[in-house]
């Protein structure tokens, strides 16, 4: 459950729920069949929150936003459908135009006050979230929250069921929606089931490390964790002089910023989590073979696994970075597992092992309203397993990155103090 639904708590009030869909009726009987990889990701939900300043957003009324959403869903009408199960138990999406849930809310802070809060995970309040279930045919796959700040600024939060598509698809859909708001015409081509397969040059990996089976959850798709998870989000500078102490630059070579950050964080978490140390991590990023710009809603993210044989806490960051570059793409194996169980078994990928997600290649600030970028963008995943997740993505300033961590609550404070020790976070 996201934070913004806890009744009576939180800074968002006056919440009203309605539904937005497509303008045209989809033909009766249309369905969307999830792939094995889609089914493996079903317990996860992707979240994003975009904050726009009052100069851009004060004229944007609920009607404008909803109308633009309708035009967006005309292009991707299947995402407004609902999940049904076949006789075999395999879930599929019935394209019945049911719609995405639209939540309006108000906030007593101004955008400035909101952005001055040091822990950016307050943006979780800007994303309304409910899991799929307990009744599949009546659970929306997409929740959109529109929050109006005291200064007339606006926040748009999306909660997106991972069974439909990955983070890159979410950003693609959001960018299309922003284009509609600016008055442009949009067109999203339909993706056939063949296009949704990914190119995998590696041979099939048996027993992929990055996926873990969990206890059956039935029709309520929540990751069953024994520990309570917490999120923390902060900015950090990745200028060359900050990075080089950890990763001596080899002449003209570009510093692989994400890998270095991931390495540093992996070390810090390994120091906190002594027994057992996380020797295997999962790396999720955009598929480098995906040459086309993202023009479809699908799960195409590369999921790869890294295993080291040496203790991580004492290792050099350089070593870890080199190992990460040799990560094995496990998507085929995951797809096979998802396919073979026909949706009857439940798995997690985010948090099955300590997971690092790289969204830094996505230009989040391209989502311009009135030709101006958002003030801030927040990304996270709901339904993360106990091993934890670290998401790295671009900040408003090009030399900064934003890191959102979701870890067991009991580890969070110690991890933060480790970061302070190694200079990642200000003391």
């Amino acid at each position: 459950m996201g934070r913004s639904q806890e009744k009576g708590q939180g800074p968002i009030y006056n919440m009203r729920l309605s539904t937005v869909g497509a303008t045209r009726a989809t033909e009766t009987g249309a369905i969307h069949e999830p792939t094995g990889l889609d089914l493996a990701m079903k317990l996860h939900y992707l979240k994003a929150a975009y904050i726009y300043s009052p100069e851009l957003a004060s004229d944007l009324s609920v009607t404008h936003v909803k109308e633009a959403m309708f035009k967006l869903f005309d292009q991707i009408a299947w995402t407004t459908g609902r999940l049904w199960r076949r006789d075999s138990g395999r879930p599929y999406i019935k394209c019945n135009d049911c719609g995405a849930r639209f939540v309006e809310g108000e906030c007593n802070f101004t955008v400035e006050e909101w952005l001055s809060k040091p822990d950016r995970s307050v943006d979780e309040f800007l994303v309304y979230h409910q899991p799929v279930g307990p009744e599949l045919p009546f659970s929306p796959l997409i929740y959109v929250q529109m929050t109006r700040f005291k200064c007339r600024g606006l926040a748009l939060g999306l909660s997106w069921a991972n069974i439909m598509g990955d983070s890159f698809s979410l950003f693609y859909a959001f960018n299309l929606w922003v284009k509609v708001l600016s008055g442009e015409k949009i067109y999203a081509p339909e993706t056939s089931i063949i296009d949704r397969r990914f190119l995998n040059p590696n041979p099939t990996v048996k027993d992929p490390e990055s996926i873990k089976q969990v206890d059956p959850v039935g029709d309520l798709w929540i990751t069953p964790n024994n520990k309570k998870m917490a999120s923390y989000c902060f900015n950090l500078t990745v200028a060359a002089d900050q990075m080089s102490p950890h990763f001596p630059a080899n002449g003209d070579d570009q510093i692989p910023v994400f890998e270095v950050l991931a390495g540093i964080i992996w070390k810090s978490i390994a120091k906190v989590r002594e027994d057992p140390e996380p020797l295997t991590v999962t790396i999720i990023r955009k598929d480098p073979n995906d040459l086309k710009p993202i023009r479809s809603i699908r799960n195409s993210q590369m999921i790869s696994s890294v295993h080291v044989d040496f203790p991580v806490a004492e290792a050099a960051v350089e070593e870890l970075v080199r190992c990460m570059e040799r990560a094995t793409d496990e998507r085929c194996g995951i797809d096979e597992i998802g396919e073979s169980c026909d949706g009857s078994l439940d798995f997690i990928v985010y948090g099955a092992k300590l997971t690092f997600m790289d969204l830094s290649e996505v230009d989040l600030y391209e989502a311009k309203v009135m030709r101006k970028s958002p003030e801030s963008v927040y990304c996270n995943v709901e339904g993360v397993g106990e091993e934890g997740l670290v998401v790295v993505y671009a900040a408003a300033k090009s030399e900064e990155r934003v890191v959102t961590m979701t870890l067991p609550e009991e580890e969070m404070e110690r991890v933060k103090s480790e970061f302070k020790k190694c200079g990642l976070m200000a003391p």
């Binding site: 309605s18 539904t19 869909g21 009607t63 135009d97 049911c98």
Partner: protein, 492 residues
Amino acid sequence: MPDFSSSVKLKYVKLGYQYLVNHFLSLLLIPIMAIIAVELLRMGPEDILNVWNSLHFDIVQVLCSSFLVIFISTVYFMSKPRTVYLVDYSCYKPPVTCRVPFATFMEHSRLILKDSPKSVEFQMRILERSGLGEETCLPPAIHYIPPTPTMDEARSEAQMVIFTAMDDLFKKTGLLPKDIDILIVNCSLFSPTPSLSAMVINKYKLRSNIKSFNLSGMGCSAGLISVDLARDLLQVHPNSNAVIVSTEIITPNYYKGNERAMLLPNCLFRMGSAAILMSNRRSDRWRAKYKLCHLVRTHRGADDKSFYCVYEQEDREGKIGINLSKDLMAIAGEALKANITTIGPLVLPASEQLLFLLSLIGRKIFNLKWKPYIPDFKLAFEHFCIHAGGRAVIDELQKNLQLSGEHVEASRMTLHRFGNTSSSSLWYELCYIESKGRMRRGDRVWQIAFGSGFKCNSAVWKCNRTIKTPKDGPWSDCIDRYPVFIPEVVKL
């Protein structure tokens, strides 16, 4: 084979009979003219001149006769009721953002009525069999979970539907707001102060001596009641025009309880409105679309069962809704019969009236066991607009009047595309017929509306000029998809 040939023979007998009786006077004229012609030919030119001279025309007789003729014709033209024309009309097309697919309606229902699963089940069964499509629209306030029917929202819906329809009407007819002489607004269930007609006058800055009326509480047949009122006023006021706005505001009337008989309107009523311009000016004769021939109103309120069959009341929890009784169809049938008894003699050709009379005489006077003869209204009208109150109403009327599928197509398709828009549904149906290019000069249209009370009102229009397929209007973007096949039960 013998059945087929005998039915074909019967058909020709019927046709022959109809032609004979309906054109009786003209047929009689032929032998008379033949006799006169034969006589004239027999007499020869001098005899004809002699007969002419013997008539002794003198000036006084000529003058008196001509004065008599002029006097009689003046009295005739003065006492003839003014012809009332329907110049043009426009129907409101709701914005696509107000669309309510079945799945969305059911999901909202489950969330709002989460404590009454039986009521949700009931609504689902109604929706499956309702004959509505996936493109009907509800006002923005009803899209919220739970709906937020405040007075402000109701007014805002009223402004949206009424002003859009009126703007469209002004554009189509070139009418200036200050030229409106009579304004009639009918909306049954929303009656604020100041009235909706005052709201229209305020918005368009109409004249201070305008004759405005606001009809509320009169149900789905109020559209034709407004037409009747306009007609009567146009008899009294020469050289005037009248604007009628027919609508039903859904926002304040969404039933929030869980009593099954009262949930039905939630499933069927949808957003819609129509604005109509009527006139008695001779200058409008050339551009008017229709001429009003007859308007018959039948009220069955004197009968208790009819009076209580559509009743607004509070349920056990104090929530207000409209209770529809199970006898609704039977009462509608009776009201229709009463209406037909009045309208039949006005519109049916002589052949049908004669047959009906003979059947009546046979049954009542000679007590013969004949089935009551149902006159064939298809001979009197080319098009039928039956109020799209629900699938059951249209089925019942199709059966009672023995109409074919094509005759009731306009009603069924309007129900599918727009739902039950109450008093404005007749106008959407008329617009459907025009959009299909079926309306020709001289075609007669029968509009039948039912309403709470219980009332049955009919209007008969005659098409004044062949109407070109309209390029805009509520059907312009979807007319090519219609008619659609509407299954008996739509599986949700």
